[in-house]
Symmetry: C2
Subunit: 249 residues, 2 copies
């Protein structure tokens, strides 16, 4: 038996899952994919992800890896897995990589998008993929505050690092754009703290609705303590859109 390592790009609708990470007795992204790949392998296969996403969070660009002894083409493997996954998860691409490849440790940049639906009335069709905010939001002020996130900072205000690790992260871009009645936030960083994007978005929303001044946002960031953050935005507006690596291994 010759096992090879595979890297896969996956997308999912997080609505019906209790997050990415495997848990006994509840539906998770990792659990579903492991079930399907293990059936194909006829032995237990463990999936490694670039990072966990919370219950309700979606992905169009999550990256996973697994080891498998597969004698056919990569395209056949993708088809075999997709044929057995539920409609809520899909493998967009799968390719063989070096056995050294690790989706979390080797990731150089992650990108998330967060959508706010900002209108007089809620919109049923968008309720599972955006945060409905009724109060009109000032995208200029939110953009001004978001620019302060760019660079290397201690982001302790907006999230918790894994135990024993520091909370310094490097944000490369943090921008809001308007698309009809949506305000979409796109943020790219080397890595994120737990709940960091949702905490940033919830706090920027307070800037947008006038509860906070942009200067207060800056002070909260500089404070580098969790208690300075505003509210945490709900999970269902969040999508992990890309994880980038130096090499394709």
């Amino acid at each position: 038996m010759t096992q090879q390592r595979y890297k896969a790009l996956i997308a999912y609708d997080g609505t019906t899952f209790k997050g990415f990470q495997r848990q006994v007795g509840v539906p998770t992204i990792q659990g579903e994919i492991e079930r399907v790949v293990s059936e194909i392998a006829r032995m237990p296969v463990t999936i490694t992800g670039s990072g966990r996403t919370d219950a309700g969070v979606h992905a169009t660009g999550q990256v996973i890896s697994f080891d498998l002894d597969w004698r056919h083409g990569q395209h056949d493997l993708q088809r075999a897995i997709n044929a057995n996954l539920p409609a809520t998860i899909v493998i967009c691409d799968v390719r063989q990589v070096s056995a050294e490849f690790h989706p979390r440790f080797d990731a150089r940049r992650r990108t998330y998008e967060y959508s706010i639906y900002n209108a007089e009335t809620r919109q049923p069709l968008y309720r599972l993929s955006s945060w409905y905010v009724r109060k009109p939001l000032d995208i200029e002020k939110m953009s001004e505050a978001a620019r302060k996130l760019v660079g290397e900072h201690d982001f302790a205000t907006f999230g918790q690092p894994p135990q024993g690790m520091n909370s310094v992260r490097h944000v490369y871009t943090a921008e809001w754009r308007r698309q009809n009645q949506f305000l979409v936030f796109r943020i790219t960083a080397n890595a994120f703290l737990y709940r960091m994007v949702r905490s940033i978005v919830g706090t920027l929303k307070a800037v947008g609705d006038g509860t906070w001044q942009p200067e207060q946002f800056v002070a909260a960031l500089s404070g580098a303590e969790r208690r300075f953050a505003g509210q945490t935005a709900p999970p269902h507006g969040l999508v992990l859109t890309a994880v980038e690596y130096d090499l394709d291994f």
Copy 2:
């Protein structure tokens, strides 16, 4: 007791409903709204819609009417109804109109949009609001064929009229546009036959993937018989986006 007629603009995610029209023992849009308005009225209230939508079909611009004795403002009425509707239905606007107003008979133009997600792999996040078509579609050919729909024609190929009525309808616009990996069809007509939009879209898809030539589409339209149509596109890609009236009554 003084009843007044109200016209309401409503939106819904049709995924979990068995269509618009009330049916005993199953969830429908009409049934849900009648339940809520009747509770507010403390008597049975009947809702009239501009037209039925099938199970799985969505709306952002459906129009309904109902009669109600309501002593407070229109905004309070909207809030009272929305507070009791499920997250899948919303009243976007409600206003008092003439007692003569009828949402179906008085409607002058209806607009539908149909979304096809055309890509190498299916996208879980869009699975309930678009038709996934893997084969690359030629939007130029689909647009060329769609232009032939404009004008007054007998649309018997694409749908069934109500019993005893004719199948001549006037299409004002019928256009495809590309939005990233989506192909979106927008069609406006004075009225539509049963399943007409889905039958047109399914047949235009055959033009787009090369199964049909645009001339065959024209021949099918001219044939004016149901058997000349291609497949019927699935319901979940369809959204009723607008119903227009001459006057606001």
